[in-house]
Symmetry: none
Subunit: 222 residues, 4 copies
DNA sequence: TATGAATGAGTTTTCATTCAT
DNA sequence: CATGAATGAAAACTCATTCAT
């Protein structure tokens, strides 16, 4: 009754086109400032539409974040079939393939990705976004989780907690976009080489000396 | 905007105590909401002081971020001597020790850390914060970089680009606090076990098949 | 703003039909929300026409109020001849007859009537509506005023200020629709019985004690 | 937790004074325009405070309506004891006394009263206001209802449905402020004379002819 | 005639910051 | 040092109205 009142835009192709416009605009704006510094008006104008027109396609500012998530995961999803086809044999290769594609998307939209990665936590706290968000992010999550599980089943990959590893690998990729603040700005291929090496187990020359088990490397801390 | 306090507090011990109060307060507030949702008044009240009193010790809301950075890096720094003493022999162990301590700090202030990690990029864009920020973050950065370099010199750790590796390891630790949104909420020790395994090179059972070089694992993608 | 329609609709019957549609739609919408909460789009949609189509028949949102006035007074006017015919003898009966019909219309469109009764004051302040409004409302006003004057002329009804009495009787009828907020929601026939009794002079059992004249009943107040 | 965050103003006398300022300001603004045309900013400025300062004392625009209700009922309540003392003998006199005082308040704030009378219906629909509103309006309602009931008990006042009569008498008073739109603008004392005459049963010279019973005066209508 | 996407002026509301006490 | 009332700039969002189709 009250939902149908908004301006739902009958023309679906138009809606898609406008949303793409808005996504690309927000991408440009977020290169300059944070999500909270960026105003809806600014984003609209950058997209070449009037201030109020954004509300014809989106129900609020937060919906821009959902649009970002959908768009970026979409670009990743588009590349997945090719990867799976290309690395049918070894799940380790498939995993690295997914990470490489993810890195490509992240690199293409560095700042926007950083924003998404952060804001998603607050979106997730809101009942109205929880479900949708999970659904949107699912393909990315699975793209990492599946080769991991397949690898483990075949004895090619070793880990205990799937979630932790997925998270860790996701973070390794994210690092490309996050570096800006905390540490340094890195170029994509340079960064890729290093994280591939880490994943492949090349970081440490050989096993650490005897007794230093995984759970006790830091005996000196609180 | 970030000039000196208008009312430079004479009593230094008091100033330090109040800042600690504020840091702990912000820590509690950020567990509930984002930095931009949190108001200065709310933080002040949570700290047990009046709304305006925050400006006696801080010059603006952004200064709270600096305070967070200082406080968290401080807690890390305090633990560093013990680590270095404990693992004087193998830089690989020292590196893991630093990471473990960092993980402890991150775990203690999860949401606050996530906020800091994100906001730092915008602070850094402002001329007025750039320098101070770099200085504040320096000890953490070095704590990771130094054992890495020492390890490389002694042939125990292998990598090309220091920045990338520092970033990657930092991200691996950060993952503990970030998981919330993008993926899953992980417990500290479980997470630690997995990232240690990755760093130690245990993730992959053995080298991937022949030709899949580090820079070409994803030949199929755009 | 209130100038003639830009696209004066040629087909007069169509225009009348559409206006009726709109009137009935607004009647339904106002049962749910206030005039200012109701959007033009909502009213149009409720009427089964497109958002912009309302402007083919009406020059603006305020014109909806004029339409309401016309429609409701119209329904009253339609019933007047029968009343006058039925009570040709006693103007007191005629007066009550008019009030009863008015009460019927008010009851039929309670919320809409309440809106009209209120908004009319602001319409009236606008030069562009003043004249038209007076003209539209005239039949109702006369329907009350005429039997009153005739009654006075024949010594059957007693009053000094015609306007005040017309207003008072109008308010007595309006009460049916207004009660909602201030007091209680009353059923039409129950309410009618009480106001008829008041008008007929049955409220007070007998004249108040001696000196309390009409103009001095409240000597004790500020 | 979230409630205490707003600016509740510790100083109670100050809060009361500011609210009075705002009430008087709104009174002046509503003489010029409708509640929906009046902006919060305009009201604040008229009250001599800054735009945003209204939110230090009120939680939103609707709260202005509550303030109006409280203020006007308050002025009425203040006069009640004197009336009750002055007319202890005859409830009919007391009733007229209350009406006269009400008429005085209405006259003092005509447009504001009209707004309140109308908007109250929408406020009442909101869960958050229902209870408070009922409580605030209660004294006025009782002031009319009590003498009516006492009068009926002693056989001095005759009616069946209390709510209807209270409503009708309230409407008779309200007429003074409402006339503007629908009919004519009347002066207080002139209006008072006429409604007193109606209530006292002087409107009709004598009983209408025989068979025209209260429930059938309008046999000719739909 | 009818439509509905697009507009942008205008509104409420929030909140970091100041400053008199 | 501490306070908290006051400020006013800024932002999200709404919606009557237009106009190309």
């Amino acid at each position: 009754m009250t939902e149908a009142l908004r301006n739902p835009v009958a023309d679906d192709a138009l809606a898609r086109a406008r949303k793409r416009q808005i996504f690309l605009a927000v991408t440009r704006v977020l290169a300059r400032k944070s999500f909270h510094e960026a105003t809806v008006r600014e984003i609209a104008l950058e997209a070449g539409i009037a201030a109020g027109s954004i509300y014809v396609y989106l129900t609020g500012k937060n919906e821009i974040l959902m649009l970002i998530a959908e768009s970026m995961v979409g670009e990743l999803t588009d590349a997945l079939p090719a990867i799976r086809a290309g690395h049918a044999i070894d799940p380790r290769d498939e995993l690295l393939g997914v990470m490489h594609v993810a890195l490509g998307v992240i690199d293409r939209y560095r700042e926007t990705f950083a924003v998404l990665n952060h804001e998603v936590r607050y979106l997730e706290q809101r009942q109205e976004y929880r479900g949708r968000l999970k659904e949107v992010l699912q393909p990315y999550k699975s793209a990492l989780a599946e080769p991991l599980e397949r690898g483990r089943a075949r004895g090619l990959i070793r880990f205990d907690d799937l979630y932790s590893v997925v998270e860790a690998l996701h973070m390794l990729c994210s690092g490309l976009a996050m570096g800006a603040g905390m540490l340094a700005k890195t170029d994509k291929e340079t960064y890729w080489r290093e994280i591939v090496a880490i994943v492949r187990g090349h970081l440490f020359a050989a096993e650490t000396a005897g007794g230093t088990g995984a759970d006790s490397p830091a005996r000196g801390d609180a």
